[in-house]
């Protein structure tokens, strides 16, 4: 990969990757650090294919691994302090945004991860399995449970 192709890849993937990490983690404290580390690891890894679609899948996989590390770290160190709302977030309806974030926060990280990949990224079971490191058969079950839980929270 050369610098120009990376710039183009970064421009198309940084937003979706950041949203995936932010919504799955449930807070914004580590989001940009994780996304930045994802790209650095991607660029440093050997044998990365030139195909942007393949690279995108690898980037999501790296980000998932980094988030798993972050969850393990949080389990060891205890819950994170609440982060204050950051500047730049100017949704049309702050109450609605807060409510949606709270509802999504009721799910566990893995459920958030699966739902985001499935419904926002449009990933199929095989792709979700590749991104999360969970077996394809388990993805079907876990996604079903996650969908059921979110549906119950919404109705």
């Amino acid at each position: 990969m050369n610098e120009a192709s990376f710039q183009s890849f970064y421009a198309t993937t940084a937003g979706p990757l950041r949203a995936y990490v932010a919504r799955t983690l449930g807070d914004f404290a580590q989001v940009d650090d994780i996304v930045q580390e994802t790209y650095l690891r991607l660029l440093r890894s050997e044998g990365v294919p030139d195909d942007p679609l393949q690279m995108r899948k690898i980037a999501f996989r790296i980000a998932s691994n980094l988030m798993a590390d972050e969850w393990r770290r949080r389990k060891r160190t205890g819950p994170q302090p609440e982060t204050a709302p950051e500047p730049g977030a100017a949704p049309p309806d702050p109450a609605l945004r807060l409510d949606m974030t709270r509802v999504f926060g009721e799910l566990n990280p893995q459920q958030r991860q699966m739902l985001w990949l499935s419904y926002v990224e449009g990933a199929d079971h095989r792709e979700i399995a590749a991104a999360t490191g969970v077996r394809e058969g388990s993805v079907r079950v876990l996604l079903h449970r996650a969908r059921k839980k979110l549906a119950s929270l919404l109705t």
Binding site: A11, L43, R44, G88, A89, Y119, L150, T155
Partner: protein
């Protein structure tokens, strides 16, 4: 329509709305900066890989040098008269000490 289909529609619609909610402003660096940072890290990786065999071999070469110096010292000591033996002993100990200090200094500088 089954309950599952209904749930799927509700969840899909909600997820699309949620995905449209803007995130806080990004603090991500420019692509160019990331590229050069990765380039620098890649060079460090290459350097570490190139130096790894040398670092692994270092204790072995130092040990061989020290053993060789001790053997030489013993051989010369046995064949030399009293004052000369002391001089040989002092010289060999000095050389071994210098090798040891030099090795440690090089290691410190490298890390």
């Amino acid at each position: 329509m089954t309950t599952e289909d209904r749930e799927d529609i509700v969840v899909r619609q909600w997820m699309q709305e949620f995905a449209a909610v803007p995130l806080p402003q990004s603090r991500l660096p420019e692509a160019q900066l990331l590229w050069w940072k990765a380039e620098l890290l890649r060079r460090w990786d290459d350097e570490r890989k190139a130096l790894a065999p040398i670092e692994r071999a270092e204790p072995i070469t130092v040990s061989i040098g020290v053993i060789g110096a001790l053997v030489l010292m013993l051989t010369l000591w046995q064949s030399a008269p009293g004052p000369t033996a002391t001089l040989i002993f002092a010289t060999v100990v000095g050389v071994v000490a210098l090798i040891g200090i030099g090795t440690m200094m090089v290691r410190q500088l490298r890390h």
